[in-house]
């Protein structure tokens, strides 16, 4: 096994004389680059800071000229307003649970299908792949009306099944995992396992899963974030406050008050904070995943 892999690895290393040439080609980084990137960083972070500024000052402080640009001491009060109006902590828990289930099932079904489409001799596999890419181009809103009717027929309104079941697997995940498995899993490894007489599922479990774990984790993250941030579908199928997801709870607040900016912004911030905390730990992997999954060439 090692013997077959060896020549490949040496080929991938670039010839040494190429590197020196390449160096001379890269331009010096101009100060403008750093100014531009710092500006972009400010733009990216400012809205979060602003959420806190408004939420911690209360609407009156913000409604004057000049508005205060620094946080005030009102944040606990705003949090209390929010949690009294809607069961917000409940909503956070609901959303975390639903998002986790959807993320795990997406990862499982997508790696399985992606493996079959990338490496197994399955009849009609090219056609299947084209079909999957095609389904990604369908506008999602087209089926919503009928889906809603089905959910009410199944009595799934206010049931988390209405969120989970339609989302357990999706075209994007399958396509993405197929691309990843196709490029990251060496055929030699697969051949060797076959010669050793491993069953297909055994290959999946012992070779595919460990190899593509980082990419599968990123897919899980995407799916988690997508569910966490989904707004339309949950707001249609959930109307019992105890069942609200975070996004539905935030809108509820928006509707039940005469635009209370402080409460709105506070809720938006509370609903985003878990993701920001998560991002601190997984941001780098997410970035790597986005770039890995990008269509190249």
């Amino acid at each position: 096994m090692t013997a077959t892999l060896e020549p490949r690895t040496t080929q991938q290393v670039a010839p040494p004389n190429g590197t020196s040439k390449r160096r001379s080609l890269t331009k010096r980084v101009s100060p403008f680059t750093y100014v531009a990137l710092t500006f972009m960083t400010f733009i990216s972070v400012f809205p979060f800071y602003w959420m806190y500024v408004v939420a911690s000052n209360g609407s009156e402080e913000i409604s004057k000229i000049p508005p205060s640009l620094t946080p005030g001491g009102n944040f606990p009060h705003v949090v209390k307003t929010i949690t009294e109006a809607v069961p917000f902590w409940h909503a956070i828990f609901n959303t975390a649970a639903v998002s986790t289930v959807i993320a795990v099932s997406n990862v499982f079904f997508s790696t399985l299908a992606g493996f079959a489409l990338a490496k197994l001799r399955v009849p009609g596999k090219r056609g299947m792949l084209l079909f999957i890419i095609g389904t990604m181009m369908l506008p999602a809103q087209l089926g919503v009306i009928f889906m809603y009717m089905v959910m009410s027929w199944l009595n799934w309104i206010n049931d988390f099944k209405a969120l989970v079941v339609p989302a357990i697997v999706g075209a994007f995940g399958v396509f993405w995992m197929r691309q990843i498995i196709d490029s990251q899993l060496p055929n030699e490894l697969l051949e060797a396992a076959r010669i050793d007489g491993a069953s297909v599922f055994r290959i999946y479990r012992s070779i595919v899963v460990p190899t593509v774990m980082p990419a599968a984790f990123v897919l899980g993250l995407f799916s988690f974030l997508g569910t966490w941030n989904d707004y339309l579908w949950p707001s249609l199928v959930l109307n019992d406050p105890e069942r609200f997801t975070v996004q539905v709870a935030i809108t509820q607040l928006n509707n039940s008050y005469t635009v209370d900016y402080a409460a709105n912004m506070g809720a938006a911030l509370l609903g985003t904070t878990p993701l920001l905390l998560l991002f601190i730990f997984v941001g780098r992997r997410l970035v790597a995943g986005v770039m890995e999954g990008a269509v190249k060439g």
Binding site: G18, R22, V29, T33, A36, L37, M40, T41, S44, V45, P47, F48, W50, M51, S63, P67, F115, A116, L117, L120, R121, V122, P123, A140, Q141, L142, G143, I145, F146, Y148, W153, P166, I168, V169, V174, R194, S199, V200, L225, W228, N229, Y231, L232, Q247, A268, G271, T272, L275, L276, F279, G283, R284, V287, V290, M291, E292, A294, V295, K296, G297
Partner: protein, 325 residues
Amino acid sequence: MTTATTATVPRRRRRLSAIARQDRVGLFYVAPFFVHFVLFGAIPIVFTTALAFFNADFQTYYDFITTHQLSVLTNAFAGLENFRELFKDSYFWLALRNTFSIWLISTVPQLVIAFGLASLLANARLRASTFWRTVLMVPNITSVLAVAIVFQQLFGRDFGIVNVLLHYVGQKPVEWVAGTIPSHAAIATMINWRWLGYNSLIFLAAILAIPKELYESASLDGASRWQTVRYVTIPQMKNTITFMLVMGTIGGLGLFVEPLTYGGGFDGGANSQFLTMTLYLYKQAFMNQRLGYGAAIGVGITLVVMVISAINFMITRRIAGEESK
């Protein structure tokens, strides 16, 4: 391929077919996706399309599922009436124009700036490159709803920061909600804020994947910086650009959470100045309870998406296809 081959081939084929037989289990691996797609993708789409030919509200629907009387359906059958109405519906055409306007002022600057940022990030000598890349991704993890809430405040007429800043440079306050173009610009800003970093990273990945030899030969040929971008970078990124245009079109034409939150309702502003197509679909289907008409709007949106995707495809072929040879 059939008979005239050497003796080793049949044996090889037998070995392969053993693998092929074993691999057939792969059909079960892809089956969950397809079963799920039929149940939650295809059937809803087909039936929603069918619904467009009926004059149906929720009552019609409940009557049908409780009585199981076909006459309920035949009575509600409307033929092409919904489509005829849609064709004459000035709100739908207004929504189409608004959607296009917002999509245009969000897509074009976004892709240009993202490309610029990606070129800055692609420099191998850039310090703290991981930090910059990661920070650019932060807006993308935020929910559309949270983004809309913040920007709604930032673009507030009287006390929003944007107008306050304009006041200090001696400008009159802009009607960011009541005005047509200003409201489109505000909504486009929300979209741009959320997607700029993500798109930069996609462009960056594509730039980094371009073989360095192409740049070397371009510089040996004495190509200018602009010529290098035009004849090396852009053609090499053909697939990425096509992909982003197609996905951006689908996302852009499906736009509705931003205008919904920004206007605080399904009307898209007091004069429907930022009513979008999908917002109109939900307004008709779920607010006015006109499921059939909502479905017809959905069919209309799909036709628009298909036409635009085809145009996109031809344009990207034109731009990048010929020069890449």
